[in-house]
Amino acid sequence: MKVLGILVVIMVSLVSCTKKSQVNDDTIYGVIDANIKGLDPIQAADNYMIKAVSQIYEGLYHYHYLKRPLQLEPQLAESLPTISPDGLTYTIKIKKGVYFQDHEAFPARKGRELTAHDFIYSWKRLADASHKATGWWVFDGRIQGLNEWRQELSQGKVNYDSPISGLTAKDKYTLEIKLTKAFPLFEIMLALPPTFAVAREVVEKTGNEFLNHPVGTGPFLLKEWIRNSKIVLEANPNYRTELYPNEGEDVDRELSRLEDAGKKLPLAKKVVIQIMPERQPMWLSFARGELDHAIIPKDNYSQVFNGKTLREDIRKKGIQILNQPRPDVTFIGINMEHPILGKNKYLRQAMAMAINNQISIDTFYNGRGIPAQSPLPPGFRGYKKSYKKPYDFDLQRAQSYMIKAGFPDGKGLPTFRFELTNASSWSRQMGEFLQQQWAQIGIKIKLIPNNWPQFDKKLKSRQAEIFFMAWTADYPDSENFLQLFFSKNISPGPNNFNFVNRDYDQMYEKMSLLSPSPERLALIRKMVQLVNEEVPAIFLLHRVFRLPYQGWLRNYKEYPGINDFYQYLRIDLERKSKLKPKL
């Protein structure tokens, strides 16, 4: 016992010695709250991988760091695309003098210049069926000849050097893309990670190990990656001159996010992204100043907030909060293939009216959230502040609809299975809350916790009866939410409600060919109304994350869609030396 005691004392004193040196450290300590599967852009499907990949790789376009709503701007492209009048041909100029980070695959050992051919190669790679790329949906059926090439490649009839009619390099720096049909959102697709440029030499040299050896054109290069532990990035010494934006919103001026305007990016020399799937360690690390920002994805604000205000002890430590309205919607999904739930509109409407959304927002989101009236979050085309959904909380009406449905007080109804996305206490408590709410009109549910693979399997094989989940926009357009109810997208696609409605389909198909216009807007509103009447989903809220960050972290404005944000961040060493000892 004594020996152990002495041992602990020695070790503790050693540890405290090693820690003092960290105050003068301008490294950014970021965090990702899930394990990263690999650093290959074409596989970047979840937010975690996207975030990791976007520091190293780049695409043709990305979003302005400070402006909201999101504004597309060129990244590797020189300017926004030139589009032919029929909307089918896109011509894109690529920046000159952009170099890949160095890798042993390049002969001269100082990287290689990026050309239009790199995009053609990267997109063929995305289309290559043998890669099973999660990001293939981005181009699926959109570019002339690409789907055919995909087909023939898997049959061994063509190879990577075979031409594709819709993808040509007019010259070294000019890319021409021909679409199969007009798709007004196409340029938005070119900001998504699966379309990022990779170098053929590196892919061929590293083979199956490619996803462990990312080589991009981006502001950071991968220094070290310890799986399940951390990703260490260093500033790319050969990064072209990109400058910190000098425009932003008013709030950016107030929070002095424009002080670094015109400085060369990236601002930080080194970024360490800790991988912490467990909430408790993440929060503890942040609270001790070992992380510069933290994510509390389950909206568990209560650790930082006292009701709606910042807790006194937290405020004293200089910790700041970033309000982040999410482009998302949380909802309860109902499987329309279920023999009772799917057939009985009144039952679904009653279920929607039994849920007191405000209590759920107060209890589970600390009051931070915008009650959802439709799938569309604020800022998306078709969102209207004054619009209210037809079946909102109204217990008496819900009870009368139960009679209309033929199940007064729930008599004659079986117990439904309610699938929870994960096993966290948060989602369990959320389930308990819904259980209580529906019990008021006699609907009984059994809560079934899952891990993600199980939940995913039940959803995609259409076994889930009722489920709770959230949809975060892949790109900033309403279409991304409206596609959730399109019949061609039923499970295993994203229409997990298996909602099939011919009127809706017709409107959707018409809308997806239209550029932003009053006609398109009117269609969107009609579609929203139809979904709200049929209730395949009960929309709950659009979340507002409150992301805590340390007082010494400058320019922090993380937002879904802006994934390459680490290059804009900087540590204020003076503040850090003042604030860190307080933690």
Partner: protein
């Protein structure tokens, strides 16, 4: 029967066990887990893509065919690549082994030495205040949940007092131990209770055997009886227990690894289950079981080496 022949026999005996393990692993995780094809296809999946992924992964073959190819993989020790990360499964294992062992081995040794020491003292003073005190302390230690220890220790020592980093990992030998002390402390605290009780029982068992009485009757002093007779014989069951626990070190600290962000084999396994990554799940369970069988054999050999009355069959 010679030792060599015994060993050979045991190795042959290992084959059906391996068979059993492959069978159980296969059934459990095929029935229970998610569908990797859905997971790989992602949220914007289409039926066609799911089907092509399924055939790519060989999931469209009959269960029997899939099982046979699993057995083949096991025989050749080549489980291919992870479905989610495309890394070689064996590379993943070797990379995870170091962190896992540096978490488990020292914790195991410390806890073994402390538990054995306490058990010896306690059984020497059997029935006295010290012994009762130890017993009650052990039982009290064992009456808390593992999860409570993790939550409380992390909260108190790392967060409140700031003695250790909360989580993290440094692959260098000089840097990694600062992340390990707290997990070691938890691991030791949790295992001391049961350790002391088991060792104490084993020692007491011996002290009640007939030959001890004879030795005492011959007038040997207590300390002499202890060191010459009881301890020597009690080593047999203790060694058995210790050796049996060793293979658990590789995969035994799943929770600690995931709470403290230690990139070990246990964490890999949890992640593999999260991703329905069958190649990794299969490889880790089979490799774990091979270690287990080796140590099992070792334990039996030790048993016979120390106590010749036990026949080798």
């Amino acid at each position: 029967m010679s030792l060599l022949r015994y060993c050979i026999r045991r190795i042959f005996f290992a084959l059906p066990i391996l068979f059993g393990i492959t069978l159980v692993t296969f059934i459990l995780f095929h029935l229970v887990g998610g569908d990797p094809a859905f997971l790989i296809a992602g949220k914007n999946a289409s039926l066609e893509r799911v089907a092509s992924i399924r055939s790519e992964l060989g999931l469209d073959r009959s269960l029997l065919q899939q099982y046979i190819s699993f057995v083949k993989q096991t025989v050749t020790f080549d489980w291919g690549r992870s479905w989610s990360s495309q890394e070689r499964v064996m590379d993943m294992f070797w990379r995870g082994l170091g962190p896992s062992l540096s978490l488990a081995l020292p914790a195991f040794l410390i806890s073994f030495l402390i538990s054995l020491g306490i058990a010896l003292l306690s059984s020497y003073y059997r029935g006295q205040c010290f012994d009762r005190g130890v017993l009650i302390a052990c039982l009290a230690l064992m009456s808390f949940s593992y999860l409570v220890y993790i939550i409380l220790f992390q909260y108190l020592f790392a967060y409140k007092m700031g003695l250790f980093p909360i989580t993290g990992w440094d692959p260098s030998w000089s840097g990694r131990w600062q992340y390990l002390i707290l997990p070691w402390m938890i691991s030791v605290t949790v295992s001391i209770g049961p350790g002391v009780l088991i060792y104490r029982t084993a020692i007491l068992d011996e002290s009640l055997q007939g030959y001890v009485r004879t030795a005492r009757a011959k007038g040997l002093k207590d300390t002499a009886v202890y060191s010459q007779h009881i301890l020597k014989n009690a080593l047999v069951p203790i060694l058995t227990i210790v050796i049996m626990q060793m293979p658990l070190m590789i995969t035994g600290s799943l929770l600690l690894e995931s709470f403290f962000g230690i990139p070990g084999v246990g964490g890999l396994l949890i992640q593999a289950i999260q991703n329905a990554d069958f190649p990794v799940i299969k490889a880790m369970t089979v490799i774990g079981s091979i270690f287990y069988m080796l140590f099992n054999l070792l334990s039996d050999l030790v048993l016979t080496a120390v106590d010749p009355r036990i026949e080798l069959k």
